[in-house]
């Protein structure tokens, strides 16, 4: 087989190559030094972050919206999963042999995805669409302010209707934790990782190889060019917003066992996802997946070696450094601000 060593060497010297190499080294060191649970935590957190961050990247690339309400779709997903799974869980308690033991959580997670998508479509129809039709002057600023407003609205609607308490579940699948390389990992965590891995893979496949996925990328790279080749931008915009909110929703739904649903629960994944997007470069979908695992690693390692209170400080400091020295992000090939689009 022909291997292009020069290309590999060039890649290793690029910002992306250096960062990925360092991350893998740090992950390996931490795993050997502190035990495999570091790696497991990184992968689970990273998988969840990847779901939220790819959605954020999509919104930014295709709709040119700096989305600050994305955490609320995460919250909507977890809320849906809670209200769907609680009756299922009660039923399971009475009928432990029911087929719902296996299928019940799947139903809850799928519905959380659907509810995320529906919420996304509703916000496009009621909020972003009308603004776009009225005027696209100063679009980046106006749409950003809209998302902040939307975020406040959704948080308070949650509080008004469902109350401010923690709505959590004990477990999805339950059962004995599985031992992997000496670390005990609960089944729910493994499932959460598998779900996010599967969805990120399907999503990547969809974006890379299907006609519609290519159309989404085309719109994000050149909206005029996309119109010229015959793409109906309105449809792509609606699809994109549904897709990216569905990704956030399913992340919220599948992690309900770790993060109970409450009004402001979306803020943490939102900030983390923004770290990922800035780190990996705006509008770069595959970069966002890699970036998600890097931010997750950074977070886990910080908690492990510096202290639990620092897991926001270290990534924030890194983001500042990146914005100063490489504002296009480590996977971004060129500096192209959202504002110039």
């Amino acid at each position: 087989m022909y291997i292009n060593f020069k290309a590999i060497a060039n890649w290793a010297k690029s910002a992306a190559g250096i960062t990925i190499t360092i991350s893998i080294a740090v992950a390996l060191y931490a795993t050997i030094n502190s035990g495999p649970y570091v790696l497991v935590n990184t992968i689970i957190t990273g998988g969840m972050l990847a779901l939220v961050a790819t959605g954020l990247t999509l919104m930014l690339g295709v709709l040119n919206i700096a989305m600050f309400a994305h955490g609320e779709y995460f919250m909507i997903g977890s809320l849906t999963a809670f209200y769907v799974f609680t009756p299922i869980s009660n039923y399971i308690m009475e009928n432990p042999d029911s087929f719902l033991v296996i299928i019940g959580p799947v139903i809850a997670i799928v519905l959380s995805m659907v509810s995320g998508a529906i919420a996304g479509v509703i916000s496009e129809k009621l909020v972003f669409g009308p603004l776009r039709r009225r005027s696209t002057d100063n679009w980046v600023m106006n749409s950003f302010l809209l998302t902040v407003g939307l975020s406040v609205l959704l948080i308070n609607l949650h509080q008004l209707i469902f109350g401010a308490d923690f709505k959590g579940i004990v477990r999805y699948w339950g059962g004995m934790p599985v031992s992997i390389a000496g670390a005990f990992i609960s089944r729910d965590r493994i499932m959460a990782f598998l779900i996010s891995g599967l969805i990120v893979f399907l999503f990547w496949f969809f974006m890379t190889y299907t006609r519609t996925g290519r159309a989404i990328r085309a719109v994000s790279q050149d909206a005029t060019g996309a119109q010229i080749v015959g793409i109906n931008i309105e449809n792509i915009v609606l699809l994109t917003i549904a897709l990216s909110c569905a990704l956030a929703g399913v992340a919220g739904g599948s992690l309900l066992f770790m993060y109970p649903s409450y009004p402001t629960m979306g803020l943490e994944p939102l900030y983390m996802a923004w770290f990922v997007v800035i780190l990996s470069g705006l509008g770069n979908i595959l970069g966002a997946v890699a970036g998600a695992f890097m931010v997750a690693l950074l977070k886990v390692v910080t908690v492990e070696y510096i202290g639990a209170g620092w897991d926001f400080v270290v990534p924030s400091a890194l983001i500042m450094l990146i914005l100063i020295f490489k504002p296009s992000g480590i996977f971004g090939s060129e500096v192209r601000g959202v504002l110039d689009k």
Partner: protein, 235 residues
């Protein structure tokens, strides 16, 4: 008649640029619009392709009224627009850009046929299949833009300023590729600032000035017109 533009008014916001522009293109013709900067050449193209909503007037394509249709529907009717800025998908490979050009064709085999046709036309693109469009030279990008336009199997191609920003040598290559397209039975409407060259290769010409058609006729006649000679050719 393939394309008929009747008394088209167009502009941006409050600024009207085109005033009652009328023109016609027959099947198989090679027509150009020449004129000074700011005359409204690109605006005419954008209005026909659907990127800009006309303020007044009518546009007919194949006898069908396409005035004010969104750009994607105009493309589906068989008009391909190669814009001045090319609007390529810079982070996609040459192959993917061409595939996007065939977006309106759903049949995979037909897509492949078009792709081979374009690669035959521009062997240079075939050599660079997997290169990212954004990393190619200006001339290659122009070729890719024209190739992408060809992918949808258009009956009419609108080409805006193909020589813009290109070295004279590359301009020649681009004009040659347009010649090949004409020989393949595509109708082309060309907008150019390179008046001399354009009038020597096209069949018919419209001279656009201050948003109005000042003169039209056979390209050779237009090139010999004393006014055109004085103003554009500097003879």
């Amino acid at each position: 008649m393939l394309l008929e533009v009747k008394e088209l008014d167009a502009g941006y916001g409050y600024l009207q640029i085109l005033r009652k522009v009328s023109l016609q293109v027959d099947t198989g013709e090679y027509v150009c619009i020449v004129g000074p900067n700011g005359a409204g050449k690109s605006t005419t193209m954008k209005s026909i392709s659907g990127l800009l909503k006309p303020m007044g007037g009518k546009i007919y394509f194949n006898g069908e009224d396409i005035t004010g249709l969104p750009a994607y529907e105009v493309t589906q009717k068989g008009i391909a627009f190669v814009s001045e800025e090319m609007n390529l998908f810079v982070n996609m490979s040459v192959q993917e850009n061409l595939l996007m050009g065939a977006y309106t064709i759903k049949d995979k085999n037909a897509q492949q046929d078009r792709m081979e046709f374009v690669y035959d036309l521009f062997p240079r693109l075939a050599e660079r299949k997997s290169q990212l469009a954004g990393t190619m030279s200006g001339g290659e990008r122009k070729m890719l833009a024209i190739g992408r336009g060809m992918m949808s199997k258009p009956t009419l191609m609108l080409v805006d300023e193909p020589s813009f920003g290109l070295a004279p040598q590359l301009t020649e290559t681009v004009f040659e590729s347009l010649d090949i397209l004409i020989k393949n039975g595509v109708t082309i409407m060309l907008v150019e600032q390179n008046v001399n060259k354009t009038l020597s290769v096209t069949d018919r010409a419209y001279v656009l000035e201050n948003g109005r058609i000042g003169l039209d006729g056979k390209s050779s006649d237009v090139a010999n017109d004393s006014y055109v000679k004085k103003v554009f050719l500097g003879v």
